[in-house]
């Protein structure tokens, strides 16, 4: 029986079309380091650990000036993305704004605060555009003709939008009771959209079986090794947009734990490449208290996630059984960071605080991030001398339900000056 070592460097599934994209890199197990050929598989055949792309350590890396001269997309960092050859789809995703926010810095009591604004990510207004850009190129490079995902909403939007543009059929599975904006923002692209009775974790289990049965490229299931690498580009952009230097601390929301893990990897890779110097930023993760298994893991010091049944309005990060929980906790511990949970009331206040200080309307996960940063500042984890980046991963227009009743109702008047003057009097 052949071992993984005997197999060709790229496995094209039976019945798959000819590869139409860049050649995906081979994979290697993150735990036991067993090599695997490039394929639509995210699980090590030896130990069932996660597979990651294996980069050629001797590859030629660009310098800062070369990167800066390239198109303003995540592909400007292509030497750190898992392909040989040029990407063929989703070429214009990435390079979102990094906003300096003195007002937010004052509220946090830190020296500087920036917002990495993936609420305006192209094309679907969340950081999931990054990972899907990577995964769809992998799907095409592997010759897959159908893609899909298990999603809490933002990933559904990103897969549906980018698959439509790429001309790929998409099967998208979501919990049955997601926010209307997330459902409409998926259905409009006309994928095969399936609503599943249950939580995201139930959807995720079903999709593991779907990928196994049908051989489709489910971006966060069997293409997960390629998909996750897209998240590193958020770290790369932060470093470049700060002038090729690192912040002292980064706060990010946690769902499955992948983003935080990949931020850590991205900052380290830029350090190893000599593009930035100094200490890696302390990484802080935030979750809603109603679904905080990674926070519990960090606080307990344990190695294994204890799953929870989610109970929070922060649906986009409501994952009770986070696949990368242990790796996120390791990244947090190794950088000297911490994790915090926030209440539902606090996350709504976080949404409002970001809007009022920075002019950015974020969804519930962003509210968790801002509220988490406030809690970390109040507990002394964030320090007065800190230069902090908050990763805002999604757009508030997708979760307007969360703010119902939280904002003052605007008065209605007749179109007459005297009514305006009567209402506001001396305030005018």
């Amino acid at each position: 029986m052949p071992t993984v070592l005997d197999l060709p460097s790229t496995i094209v599934p039976a019945g798959a079309a000819t590869p139409r994209g860049p050649r995906p890199l081979p994979l290697v197990c993150k735990l036991c380091h067993a090599p695997h050929p490039a394929s639509a598989s995210a699980t090590c055949e030896e130990c069932l650990g996660p597979l990651e792309p294996q980069y050629d350590a001797g590859r030629v890396l660009p310098d800062a000036a070369t990167i800066a001269s390239r198109d303003r997309s995540l592909w400007r960092y292509r030497e750190w993305l898992p392909f040989e050859g040029k990407p063929v789809v989703s070429l214009d995703t990435g390079f979102t704004p990094l906003l300096d926010s003195p007002a937010l810095a004052r509220r946090l009591g830190v020296a500087r605060a920036w917002v990495k604004n993936d609420a305006v990510s192209h094309p679907s207004l969340s950081f999931k555009d990054r990972v899907v850009a990577s995964a769809l190129n992998a799907a095409l490079g592997l010759g897959l003709d159908t893609v899909g995902c298990a999603s809490t909403g933002n990933l559904a939007n990103a897969v549906a939008a980018q698959a439509a543009r790429a001309g790929l059929p998409a099967w998208i599975f979501i919990p049955h009771d997601l926010e209307l904006g997330k459902v409409v923002g998926t259905a409009v692209y006309h994928p095969h959209l399936v609503r599943v009775r249950g939580t995201y974790d139930d959807v995720n289990r079903l999709c593991s079986q779907v990928a196994d049965r049908f051989g489709w490229g489910l971006v966060n299931i069997n293409l997960r090794g390629y998909y996750g690498e897209g998240s590193k580009t958020m770290a790369f952009e932060i470093a470049e947009q700060l002038g090729w230097r690192l912040p002292t601390a980064v706060v990010a929301p946690m769902a499955g734990g992948s983003l935080l893990t990949k931020l850590d990897k991205g900052f380290r890779e830029f350090g190893e490449a000599g593009l930035v110097s100094g200490a890696a930023p302390r990484l802080y993760g935030a979750q809603a208290s109603g679904c905080a298994p990674i926070v519990h893991l960090v606080e307990s010091g344990d190695e294994q996630v204890v799953p929870v049944i989610p109970n929070t309005i922060a649906r986009s990060i409501a994952i009770g059984n986070p696949a990368d929980g242990r790796f996120a906790a390791t990244a947090i511990r190794s950088t000297g960071g911490w994790a915090t949970g926030v209440s539902e009331t606090a996350l709504i206040e976080g949404i409002r605080l970001l809007a009022e200080t920075t002019g950015v309307f974020t969804e519930t996960a962003g509210g968790v991030t801002v509220a988490g940063a406030l809690a970390l500042a109040q507990s002394g984890k964030l320090r007065p001398e800190d230069e902090v980046v908050l990763c805002i991963t999604g757009n508030g227009l997708k979760t307007v339900e969360a703010l119902q009743g939280a904002l003052p109702e605007a008065p209605i008047i007749a179109p007459r000056l005297r009514e305006l003057e009567a209402l506001y009097g001396r305030d005018l």
């Binding site: 069932l48 974790d201 995720n204 999709c207 593991s208 997960r224 294994q304 696949a323 990368d324």
Partner: protein, 91 residues
Amino acid sequence: MAVTFSLPTVLARLADGRATLEASGRTLGDVVAEIAGRYPRLAPRLRDETGGPYPFVTYYLNDEDIRFRNGFATPVSPGDEITVVAAIAGG
């Protein structure tokens, strides 16, 4: 009547290519022990060195994660469906 025990492809390779098995027992742990005895190469991917569930698989009993029940001590009944899924997925 036995319980059915479903494996993902990556584990079915270690069970002579069989993705669906039948077994019996009073608890889930009994069922896993029977299957581990039948397929020794599969055994270390079902249980860890302490006899608990291997950390990179998740067990579901009739659609419910057994960690929300009583783990391997969860009782099983004839006709139950046990599904094993690789744990690294999603997010």
